[in-house]
Symmetry: C2
Subunit: 312 residues, 2 copies
């Protein structure tokens, strides 16, 4: 990614060093845990959004880096707490904190990273009103996760699904872009457009993830594992499949009761057009991303973002 933009690649490499430096703690356990959680990979898409958006304005590394680090560290904190909730055993190929140590230490490591994220925000020197975007994002993220948890084993409408993923995923991409726009001193119109771009990107990103969650498992040898469905989480491809083929709902409910084989369900989700229709909706959000970018003055940010959209 960013191969056509050496100035972005260079800035992201410098950011990586900055991030590692910022993860020091007097507490040895917390330092090791935080470093291994934050620095163990990940695409760094969210901080890249902050950095690249700021590059289209008055770019000051001393404001942008803490803002971008705040976003990435917040993202990692939510991953750690998500892993507790999902009882996940691995993340990015490594055992999760809860698995390696205990749920207890995972809860506090997440909280510690949340606090670190807040302290980095303060370091940006931006006005408090400009920082509320991040706190608001955490609130909405929690709302999205709680909604998803309470809605397990239920068949939400497409509308409810979209509302949920916008909170769960969209809001942090939106906050990342907005914060970059604020760090780069962009005008109010650009702020709004970048914020909306981030939200649409995050929505398309989550739909892609939900399609992959079903498709990738199709290819695993032997019995396929549908992670979300196994957890009772009904995502877009399943919602569409049931809309196209109402009889499927009863079969999935039987699967929830432990009566059906997941392979049969999966085949029917595909044959009922679940993935196909999801791709169409994803495309709608990709088009929205393009629309917002086209309304912004051309800059390195709009050019690079146009390429990222293609990756979706």
């Amino acid at each position: 990614m960013w191969d056509n933009y050496p100035e972005i690649k260079e800035e992201l490499a410098a950011f990586e060093e900055y991030l590692a430096e910022k993860l020091s703690s007097r507490n040895e356990f917390l330092q090791t845990a935080c470093r291994s959680a934050v620095l163990s990979g990940g695409k760094r898409l969210r901080p890249a959004f902050t950095i690249i958006t700021a590059m289209s304005g008055n770019y000051r590394r001393e404001v942008v880096f803490p803002a971008a680090a705040s976003v990435e560290i917040l993202h990692t904190a939510t991953l750690i707490h998500d892993d507790i909730i999902d009882c996940a055993k691995t993340r990015r190929g490594q055992p999760t904190l809860a698995e390696k140590h205990s749920i207890n230490l995972a809860v506090y490591t997440g909280d510690y990273l949340l606090a670190k994220s807040l302290r980095l925000l303060v370091e940006t020197g931006l006005e408090p009103e400009r920082l509320d975007v991040v706190a608001r994002a955490v609130s909405m993220l929690c709302e999205g996760e709680v909604d998803q948890y309470l809605g397990k084993y239920e068949f939400a409408s497409v509308h409810v699904y979209l509302k949920r993923i916008m909170r769960k995923t969209g809001i942090l991409f939106s906050a990342a872009s907005l914060l970059g726009a604020k760090a780069g001193d962009l005008d109010e119109t650009s702020l709004k457009l970048f914020g909306r771009f981030g939200m649409s990107f995050g929505t398309a990103f989550q739909i892609k993830d939900d399609i992959l969650d079903i498709e990738s498992n199709e290819r695993i040898e032997g019995k396929p594992v549908i992670n979300d469905l196994k957890e009772g989480i009904v995502t877009l491809p399943v919602i569409y499949a049931v809309r196209n083929n109402p009889g499927l709902r009863g079969e999935i409910e039987e699967y929830f009761d432990g009566k059906k084989d997941v392979r049969q369900i999966l085949k029917k989700v595909t044959s009922s057009g679940g993935q196909k229709d999801s791709h169409v909706l994803k495309k709608k959000y990709v088009e929205r991303c393009k629309k917002y970018l086209s309304q912004l003055p051309v800059s390195i940010a709009t050019r690079a973002m146009t390429e990222v959209i293609e990756w979706l």
Copy 2:
């Protein structure tokens, strides 16, 4: 409490209404969970520290109330996460969130309250540098809790114990006072003195709690329950008892291995002067509180705080 200070009582009553108003959410579950967690009682000592400290300066409710609410909501968030870790079944006579619903929802409700706490800080309109005190407090709180968890079944020195409880409990009282001093525009010397007062108060408060944890259970009929020791947490009375009576250590280790009766241990902690010596150390911190207050100009804050110390 505060019976001799009608103006404080009045302000705290108004604060209680403010707090309830601030706990609204579009998400019904989160609103109910947050309200029941925050509004189900508690002494409101920490927000009282913020409010009363600010009363000794330029008191502006619109700055002080969000600051005080931020502190109390942060405290509640940590209680919710603590209850997960301690596998606590009840808190303030009510079933805990984790017990009533699930660990998952408890994790997110805590995170949601942390975010709410941050948003209230922004509402104070104070400069970002002034807000860092709260984020720093969360970091140190997590360090204290992680230390305590990793130090289970170990006999810490008094020094290590004190460092731990200052982080676990002292720091939030210190932050509450400091934030009140900042909200009330006090001078730098007063800021420092109130901050130190809060730290010493919190330290004495935790020692009192640790003494009670052993003493109160002494009085329960039948088999006594030592909560901390049961969890492998070695607190001050036990540390002192072992220092006075080194042979006790082996017996406690046998208890950890499930071999000894807790009643025998308890009797020996008391007869070895565990509680007595703890009271002496607590008194040292109470004296420090008095010293800091005596260095401050006399105000409603210093007078009311002098009474609160007596309660310790």
